[in-house]
């Protein structure tokens, strides 16, 4: 019989670490408006756009073997405008900008990461 306290402590550590990671990953970047959005399909880079260099909103269609995603890019941010996947989680994810969590469309094996210029952190490499 393991004491409840031990398990609860382990749990609290896991929760604390998770909260910390959430804050790091999801809080908006410190005023970075730049960054490069990289679009991966099945792990392969298919498109890349420098978010800072975008002056007017543009759309880009990504055709994956599983379906199509339409990306919309504005200065400093990107989102999935439309997709023909069943759950449309990628569309619901909304706008993302530098240093934030990636936009993912799992049915299409599509991932959009936004790397801050010059830095490619270990997770998205």
């Amino acid at each position: 019989m393991v004491k409840t306290r031990v398990l609860v402590i382990i749990l609290l550590v896991v929760v604390a670490v998770s909260v910390a990671l959430c804050l790091v990953f999801f809080l908006p970047g410190s005023g970075k408006t730049g960054g490069t959005a990289n679009v991966f399909v099945e792990g392969e880079l298919v498109w890349s756009v420098d978010l800072a260099a975008v002056t007017e909103p543009l759309t880009y269609e990504v055709k994956t073997p599983y379906g199509t995603n339409v990306l919309q890019v504005e200065k400093g941010r990107i989102r999935v405008l439309d997709a023909d996947c069943k759950d449309r989680v990628c569309v619901e994810s909304g706008w993302r900008s530098a240093g934030g969590a990636p936009i993912v469309c799992l049915p299409h094996k599509l991932v959009v990461t936004i790397d801050t210029n010059g830095d490619v952190d270990a997770v998205s490499a």
Binding site: M1, V2, T4, L7, V8, L11, V14, V15, V17, S18, V19, A20, L21, C22, F25, F26, F40, E42, G43, E44, K86, D87, V89, C90, E92, S93, A101, P102, I103, V104, C105, L106, P107, K109, V111, T113, V123, S124, A125
Partner: protein, 177 residues
């Protein structure tokens, strides 16, 4: 297999399936197909302690298989299986070291394991470790729902365990004869 046991397992499976299908009405804005509140784990947990590991496993596999069929989202099958198996494995280990007042903790760790399993499969299939960004969110959500389902399972088990322990005693008596 005793008829009574088959009937009980079938009943529990049916309950798990209903919960599974109904909770799909709640959309979660996370990019992993098959990520749900995981409420049907109440049944898995309960079955593990009330009926035994074998019954719990059968109910789990049936729930995932049939549930995915009913829900019409076959692509989620792999993720659900991975999550379900990892969860079951963790539950098996925990059952050995935990008392019946700590079932809720099993619920939490089982739920976390479930999401980790799904995330692992998702990372492998997309080939992009970047989606691991969502792991902390999933873990926190799992802690919450796991506590909920675990507490529910524990409460139900503690209230009804007299029904099941009698059964186990009858079965072991029969085996001795």
């Amino acid at each position: 297999m005793k008829t009574k046991r088959v009937a009980l397992d079938a009943l529990l499976t049916a309950i798990a399936l209903v919960i599974f299908v109904v909770e799909l009405l709640v959309p979660l804005p996370l990019p992993i197909p098959g990520v749900k509140l995981g409420l049907s784990n109440v049944v898995t947990l309960f079955a593990l302690f009330a009926c035994g590991p074998m019954d719990a496993f059968i109910i789990l596999v049936l729930r995932i298989g049939l549930g995915t069929l009913f829900a019409g989202n076959l692509s989620a099958l792999l993720y659900s299986l991975a999550g379900g198996f990892l969860c079951y494995f963790i539950l098996l280990i925990l059952k050995k070291i935990v008392s019946k007042k700590q079932i809720w903790l099993c619920g939490v760790f089982g739920a976390i394991a479930h999401n980790v399993g799904q995330m692992a499969v998702a990372t492998l299939l997309t080939g992009t470790p970047a989606i691991l960004y969502y792991l902390p969110v999933l873990i926190l959500a799992a802690t919450g729902t796991g506590a909920l389902t675990g507490l529910t399972a524990q409460t139900i088990y503690l209230r009804t365990e007299k029904l099941f322990s009698r059964e186990e005693r009858e079965e072991s008596d029969k085996r001795k004869k």
